[in-house]
């Protein structure tokens, strides 16, 4: 664990010393503030649209940060040859993968806190209320969803040498799951065999990231979801993250470094 935490600390330092996060945060803030300054049709409920847009931007930024940071970890270690002095020390490849995951995931968590704090400030300034439980659930489930994304991108980073191709494939896959994942079973029903079975297998195999999207709770100030469901979703995300990390380790442990 010590080695994984040491690697993770370097990944977190990398995130806050690079410009990516700051650029995305400033973009989100500027767009949200500009939208907030406008008033369409004197609609009292326009704040809900503002919150929705802000949350959408936060989701996009978080995905870009998570995939961008994770996809380059192992390839850049190889390209810059920093993996050699690192693995020449008493650290295993499994600990390196675990450290990279922890670092990326914690870095995403820190970025999310900053984004949600900004969102909270905007929300309170307009609505004068802050349903803490719903906000916490939205942040918590979002963070765990990013855990699955980070683990998936790390697996991609040991399979594909180029970070750009890995990032593109991961983003397409994630967007596909978020937009189409919940409809796959309906598609399967309408298909003939054997395609129906194939689509059903895909439906049950892919991580349903859309389950973690509870933006409506905070947009419409709804009551929080049942905490047991929240705990179940956490275990669901943890299981997928562990599966992807295990697969990444299986590939990386035998991979020649030279």
């Amino acid at each position: 664990m010590n080695n994984a935490l040491a690697v993770a600390s370097v990944v977190v330092k990398e995130l806050y010393r690079r410009k990516d996060f700051y650029v995305l945060f400033v973009l989100t803030a500027v767009i949200t503030l500009l939208m907030g300054a406008l008033n369409f049709f004197n609609d009292d409920k326009i704040v809900r649209y503002l919150k929705e847009i802000c949350l959408l931007l936060i989701w996009i930024s978080a995905l870009v940060i998570a995939v961008g940071t994770s996809a380059r970890q192992i390839p850049s270690e190889r390209e810059n040859r920093t993996v050699f002095p690192l693995l020449a020390k008493p650290i295993t490849r499994g600990q390196l993968i675990a450290g990279k995951f922890l670092g990326c995931w914690l870095a995403c968590g820190l970025a999310l806190i900053v984004f949600y704090l900004f969102f909270g400030v905007i929300s309170v300034s307009r609505e004068h209320q802050l349903p803490m439980a719903s906000y916490f659930q939205a942040l918590w489930l979002h963070w765990w969803m990013l855990g699955v994304v980070v683990a998936m991108a790390l697996l991609g980073s040991v399979l594909f040498a180029a970070p750009s191709s890995n990032a593109t494939i991961c983003l397409l896959l994630i967007l596909g799951i978020l937009l189409l994942g919940r409809h796959l079973n309906k598609v399967a029903v309408q298909l003939a065999e054997p395609m129906s079975t194939v689509v059903y297998v895909v439906y049950f195999a892919v991580p349903h990231l859309e389950l973690f999207d509870v933006r409506d709770l905070v947009v419409h100030n709804w009551d929080p979801i049942n905490w047991l469901i929240c705990v179940g979703a956490t275990f669901y995300a943890a299981a997928y993250a562990v599966f992807f990390l295990f697969a990444a380790w299986l590939v990386f442990r035998r991979q020649p470094l030279v």
Partner: protein
């Protein structure tokens, strides 16, 4: 003659009948032998030069010693532990050829990171970092990000990270490669200082003058095979010429062609 008997002590590094084969990516997957039945021993306190032209198998051998590449046949041991076991690397310092360290870290942060991996007690990390940064003359630049360092300074950061755990065995892969004469001289001085403190150094180099100055023994590798091994003075005496000419004779290069 058995080298252990020759020195009367246990070797710190032992390579036994090592064979490393690569599958090429050409059609039909031809096998290329990078190292062929290499056996050698390095003893405590020695500075051992590992010589050979490009592609001789020096870096591949070092990669096996560090666990980066698996041996096809044979075995290698460091401190009597098989190199496949990560714990074998606890007492090793390694400087790769031409490495770029995490550019967003400072030299001090980099060394603290590596110190953590070696589980050096927190109270000892500060003094150890100070010591190695002074040794490699980077004390004044310790708070600057590595991306602002010159090539020579980066190579010295590499040496500093190789020394952070106060290793008993240093494996240096062409430590002076790409450095200007002053940079080379500084690295050579550091190796000599390490030798005086009783460290064992196993290093590869193309700089035969440097090897002649600092090495106790050398091994010459050519096309993956060990062609000669012994004290520098013995090789010079045997071939009746300087080390450079002896090296050329061993690898079969005829300058009159």
């Amino acid at each position: 003659m058995d080298q252990a008997n020759l020195f009367g002590m246990e070797p710190i590094l032992k390579i036994e009948d090592l064979v490393v084969e690569y599958r090429t990516r050409e059609f039909g997957q031809r096998v290329r032998i990078a190292v062929n039945r290499l056996s050698l021993e390095v003893f405590p306190g020695e500075v051992f030069g590992f010589l050979g032209p490009n592609g001789a198998g020096k870096t591949t051998t070092m990669n096996v010693l560090l666990g980066f590449v698996p041996a096809t046949r044979g075995a290698a041991y460091v401190f009597n532990v098989n190199v496949r076991d990560p714990i074998a690397r606890q007492r090793i310092g390694y400087l790769p050829e031409l490495t770029y360290y995490y550019k967003f870290l400072t030299a001090e942060e980099l060394l603290r990171f590596y110190a953590r991996i070696f589980r050096i007690p927190r109270a000892e990390v500060g003094p150890r970092v100070d010591e190695v940064l002074k040794l490699v003359e980077l004390d004044a630049a310790r708070k600057r990000p590595i991306k602002t360092y010159s090539k020579g300074m980066q190579q010295r950061v590499g040496l500093a990270q190789a020394l952070i755990n106060n290793p008993d065995l240093l494996i240096l892969d062409e430590p002076t490669s790409g450095l200007d004469p002053i940079g080379r001289m500084k690295v050579r001085e550091i190796i000599q200082r390490l030798k005086q403190t009783g460290k064992t150094v196993f290093f590869s180099s193309h700089e035969l003058g440097e090897v002649e100055t600092v090495c106790d023994r050398v091994a010459i590798l050519y096309q993956g095979e060990l062609k000669a091994i012994g004290r520098v003075s013995e090789l010079v005496e045997k071939y009746e010429c300087n080390l450079e000419q002896a090296f050329l004779k061993v690898v079969g290069y005829n300058s009159e062609r």
